[in-house]
Subunit: 372 residues, 2 copies
Amino acid sequence: MLKDWRIKCLVPDLPELDEVAPFIRRMDTARWYSNFGPLVSEFEQAMAGMLAKTSALPADSLSVASFSSATTALELLFRAAGLKEGARILTPALTFAATASSIRITGHTPVLCDVDTHTWDLTPAIARALLKTHQFDAVLPVAIYGFPVDMDAWAAFQAETGVRVFVDAAAALGQQAVHPDVPVCFSLHATKPFGIGEGGILVTGDAELAGHARRLSNFAFIDGTSREIGTNAKLAEVLAAYGLAQIGRFDAVQTRRREVLDQYLARLGAGRFHPRINDFVPGTLLYDTGDRAQAAVARLNGAGIQTRQWYFPPLRDHAAFAGIEILSAGGTGAMPVVDRLQTGLVGLPFHAFLSGADIDEIAEGLEAVLGA
Amino acid sequence: MLKDWRIKCLVPDLPELDEVAPFIRRMDTARWYSNFGPLVSEFEQAMAGMLAKTSALPADSLSVASFSSATTALELLFRAAGLKEGARILTPALTFAATASSIRITGHTPVLCDVDTHTWDLTPAIARALLKTHQFDAVLPVAIYGFPVDMDAWAAFQAETGVRVFVDAAAALGQQAVHPDVPVCFSLHATKPFGIGEGGILVTGDAELAGHARRLSNFAFIDGTSREIGTNAKLAEVLAAYGLAQIGRFDAVQTRRREVLDQYLARLGAGRFHPRINDFVPGTLLYDTGDRAQAAVARLNGAGIQTRQWYFPPLRDHAAFAGIEILSAGGTGAMPVVDRLQTGLVGLPFHAFLSGADIDEIAEGLEAVLGA
């Protein structure tokens, strides 16, 4: 597990001490270290502004609430949303464990489905088809591997069907558009494009919903008494310092990720990557080796190059989710797209510190197994 | 709420940038920002050593697991402990909301009781007496206001009765002894004597229990699959940097708190403080004004001196805990000691930055209302 790979799959790109120091000095002066301090407030405001701008929305149309993680953001979103107890929430079979655990730990019921063969995610078309034969109370599509979901399409689905939509865009900050009507959670974990260490945000146009989730992160206190069962999921002030420093360098972070991706595309072509690889920079870089995955992994690992099969095995095969219901048109619980992807997808090194020589070496390793 | 008090009730005493910088530089070099990184491991080891030493235990007798907060430490302790669903956990009626919310959010049932007239906490004698007439599955005594509970007595209670004991010592790090047989959670929140911003630790002699709770803080992953429903409650590496810096200055922190307390005692005497005020330095300083609380509060607040009625109103009177069961010998649900304390206790300013002149002024304000 702690093997010292020569080329690592993922190296976080966070601000260093000198970039964070001005914000930490402000914290030292204020002596305010948590509980909705000035840096957290400033970070939430700045993030709302950044996200509104990139989604061409008015600056005041979004509320951002910060939490200790994207997982706790999802958990408190579900607690705040007023879903009925045990509500069935449809989410894709291909995702990180947090997507389904956040549903279950809050007393709701995750139900899974296969993903789209082209976009690898749960689409409005899939949800619409399933609604004809199955019942569910809400949908939680996932911005898989950092590729954004279609927010306008989901907003339309929600308006038409009355089924509520929440989005898990943990890995997609910087790529995922936001929409006032569709609450979305982003991760700020160190391994994400916008990393601060640990943290997450909820973004929504519903200021009341954001405020409710925020209160739940501090025991639902109002005027000194707890109004409902909550927890402590507040973002520490020092992590907001990292967030503010990261906002200041995020354009450069994204540019560098784009450069690395372009080097990969120049070397390997777009054909075996995600179908939308030319339009978006992913959170993690998956390459489809067909049925040669084990050979590709062995070749790269043997050369000191780390790989990861992100989100595999799928949730169905985790003990935590044993027996979980999988909805399918025929009622068989089949998920052929996920099964196909599992045999072939390999996560390649993808981070800001890769050199052109690193990428050449990775490409040569793949070509040795798969052909040019 | 944000009134600018001239003398604040509580001012956090955390390491400043220069003291934390060496640890942050190590993090920058390692590029490891969460998920059980080297600073978290070193902090847990150092904390185990510090706590074992002050409790005269062998250094390797304790496991320390760190979490995003003391609340999440309690929650994951309850999830890891294998309690039956809905287990009834006895806890004092006088405590912070997290004590009871952590029980309820994990599917268990908090039941309350009055506290001891002398020590203001839930004692083994109270629990033993209630066991004769009531049923409960575990006990969660609280180190109220930072005054430690008697760990040896609780270990004996647990051994004799078979009722499991967990301790909420959120405010008592530095004062609360630890015991291998009785798991205890401490808060590292900014407002606590050992502050890092946000964080908490579980301390136990049961390495398996600590490991289980730690796994639950990372989705119960083992070898890449989630084994049971968990969450993300990991301590970020930068907060462990604060923890390591705080360990290095904690003797000085405790000395300064002792000095401030001694100045209070010299000025006001011990009579109206907690009965054990001469033996322990509290987390927050409560003063018993009898039935003159409102007059004392008005006098001090009017002079720009902040006060707090910590943990009042009691949980019974929070909407989150409406209808909560209160065990009492006569079955009346009465809690006369808590009721008496509520009429009189006032939290005085207590932190490292108080001057002798501040304390004189506070004392004069109290004496003007209460007499010398």
